[in-house]
């Protein structure tokens, strides 16, 4: 394992300090905890708390700031944070109008956030939660854990964040978050693995000509391993699954995120985006806004995901609203 780190056990702690040193104008760290909150805590607004395992940087600390999250809780690498940390985050940012927890659908995240919510509840803090499950690679079924939450989560942060910033109530913020979740679909793929620092070896091994389709963001295997194809065929492949699940008609408006998983050159993401834009144009579906970059990564995994969000007027307006965080600035 080759990494630019000090000790594998210290990566999360040192990374959080490094983030605070870099962006003191946006984030500060709760003393002794793996929680970043806004430097200037807004009062009188619904607070948004998200988080998850580390290794997805800039998620989630990079999205703490005006117009997005109020706090982000960082677990060990690829391991959901613990309830006590989440609970401290909730307490720190609760301004009296309630707190929304934005959770990605993994058993670990759901259980830990749930326990934190119970703790907050016991203290009389009003907490609601939404669970993001945008990954169409995974079959949905009431008998299983359901679909995973991946990069589409960023649209939830952005839009629910804008709603909260504009003075929405907890119920309203939750409702718009649910609306995003109902309208966002993603799917990813990988061509090279990542290595959890404490594990010391790659989470999977691909042959020189193989790719993994339906890849998650924790180095979990995808749904299928197959020979690598051209960027255009990969984009078609991912979009096909997305379109199977998210019905879109000519004239519909969407936002698209081409997300790099950590080691994918931006060049390749743009080549993917070219195909995506052409496929959408061919179908007469409008892309109102495109984001390309490493928004939610998987350490140094090579690969990417496509997320598509179907917009209505409310979502469009909130997506376009200003935001100012370490990883996302828009005016």
């Amino acid at each position: 394992m080759k990494k630019i780190i000090n000790h594998p056990a210290d990566v999360v702690d040192e990374m959080l300090d490094g983030m605070v040193y870099a962006y003191p104008q946006y984030v500060r760290r709760l003393e002794g905890l793996n929680v970043l909150t806004r430097t200037k805590a807004p009062t009188e607004k619904v607070a948004l708390v998200s988080g998850g395992g580390s290794g997805h940087e800039p998620a989630h600390g990079g999205y703490v700031g005006r117009g997005m999250l109020d706090a982000a809780v960082a677990g060990a690498v690829f391991t959901s944070p613990t309830p006590d940390q989440i609970y401290e985050a909730v307490k720190a940012v609760n301004g009296g109008r309630g707190v929304l927890l934005i959770i990605k659908n993994y058993t670990g995240d759901v259980l830990n956030f749930e326990m934190a919510a119970e703790m907050a509840d016991a203290e009389g803090i009003r907490v609601e939660k939404v669970v993001v499950n945008d990954d169409v690679a995974v079959e949905n079924s009431t008998f299983t854990s359901g679909r995973r939450g991946i990069a589409g989560t960023l649209f939830v942060h952005k839009i629910a964040g804008a709603k909260a910033e504009s003075g929405g109530t907890l119920d309203e913020v939750k409702a718009v978050a649910e609306k995003v979740i109902a309208n966002v679909r993603s799917m990813g793929m990988a061509i090279s693995p990542c290595t959890v620092p404490e594990a010391g070896k790659p989470s999977f091994v691909l042959k020189e000509n193989e790719m993994e389709i339906g890849m998650g963001i924790h180095g979990e295997p995808g749904i299928q391993r197959e020979p690598i194809q051209t960027a255009d065929r990969i984009a078609d492949r991912l979009l096909e699954k997305i379109f199977d699940d998210l019905r879109l008609s000519p004239g519909d408006e969407t936002a698209v995120l081409i997300n790099g998983l950590g080691a994918t050159p931006l060049m390749e993401l743009f080549i993917m985006n070219r195909r995506v834009a052409e496929v959408f144009a061919g179908k007469g579906i409008k892309i109102v806004k495109t984001y390309v970059g490493n928004g939610m990564t998987s350490l140094e995994m090579g690969g990417c995901s496509i997320s598509v969000l179907k917009l209505d007027d409310e979502l469009k307006q909130l997506l376009g609203a200003p935001a100012e965080t370490p990883a996302f600035v828009q005016f």
Binding site: A76, T79, Q85, V138, A199, G216, P221
Partner: protein, 213 residues
């Protein structure tokens, strides 16, 4: 186990988990995210640090401390699940209670119920429940037919092992491995495996105590 202490029992578990850290992580690499051994080792290291800093007053408060420490250090799916198991087991014990096989049986039941309530998994979902449920039944049966503590634990451990083997034959329906669907068949569930390792450690411990008596 009368002469035993929670601390020495947990020591036995902690060292078994440590010894199997890479093994559990490797199992999780196959069908999960390669951290189960790391998570468990971090948790039980913290438990030992906690118990070493101040020995708990009694079994009940000791188990509560173990539970809260696991909850606040393990993370992932296994943290809340094992945490809930120890929390519920602790709640079953009244202040001043001494451990005996009958109490252990109701602690065991409470723990398994806790895991199932939290995780909403049932047998056949390829989770730790597939080791816990058969282990509980074997413990119960052995106790009913007059077995002593080590015998009950031995039966439980062996049943857990069978449960672990069973997980290899089924697709996962809960937890991270469920995303793999049919591809998870043929792989052994890491959480069921850690249940078996813990029961084995408890058995080792009970046998030691038994001999000393």
């Amino acid at each position: 186990m009368m002469k035993g202490s929670l601390k020495s029992a947990m020591e036995e578990i902690a060292s078994a988990i440590k010894a199997n850290k890479d093994y559990l992580t490797d199992l999780d690499r196959e069908i999960g995210d390669a951290d189960h051994g790391i998570n468990m080792a971090r948790g039980f290291d913290a438990v030992m640090a906690k118990l070493n800093s101040a020995e708990p007053a009694d079994l009940s408060s000791g188990l509560r401390q173990v539970a809260l420490t696991l909850i606040s250090t393990v993370g992932g799916a296994s943290g809340p699940l094992y945490g809930t198991a120890f929390l519920r087991a602790g709640k079953t014990v009244r202040q001043g209670d001494m451990l005996n096989p009958k109490l252990a049986l109701s602690m065991f039941r409470a723990a398994v119920d806790g895991v199932e309530e939290r995780g909403k998994a049932e047998e056949g979902d390829k989770t730790m429940v597939d080791a816990l449920e058969p282990a509980y039944r074997a413990f119960e049966d052995t106790l009913k037919s007059g077995g002593d503590f080590p015998e009950c634990l031995e039966a439980a451990r062996d049943a857990a092992k069978k449960g672990v083997e069973y997980t290899k034959t089924i697709p996962a329906k809960k937890g991270r491995a469920s995303y793999l669907g049919e591809r998870s068949i043929g792989h052994q569930d890491p959480g069921a495996t850690s249940v078996w390792i813990i029961l084995n450690a408890l058995l080792q411990y009970a046998q030691k105590i038994h001999k000393e008596q």
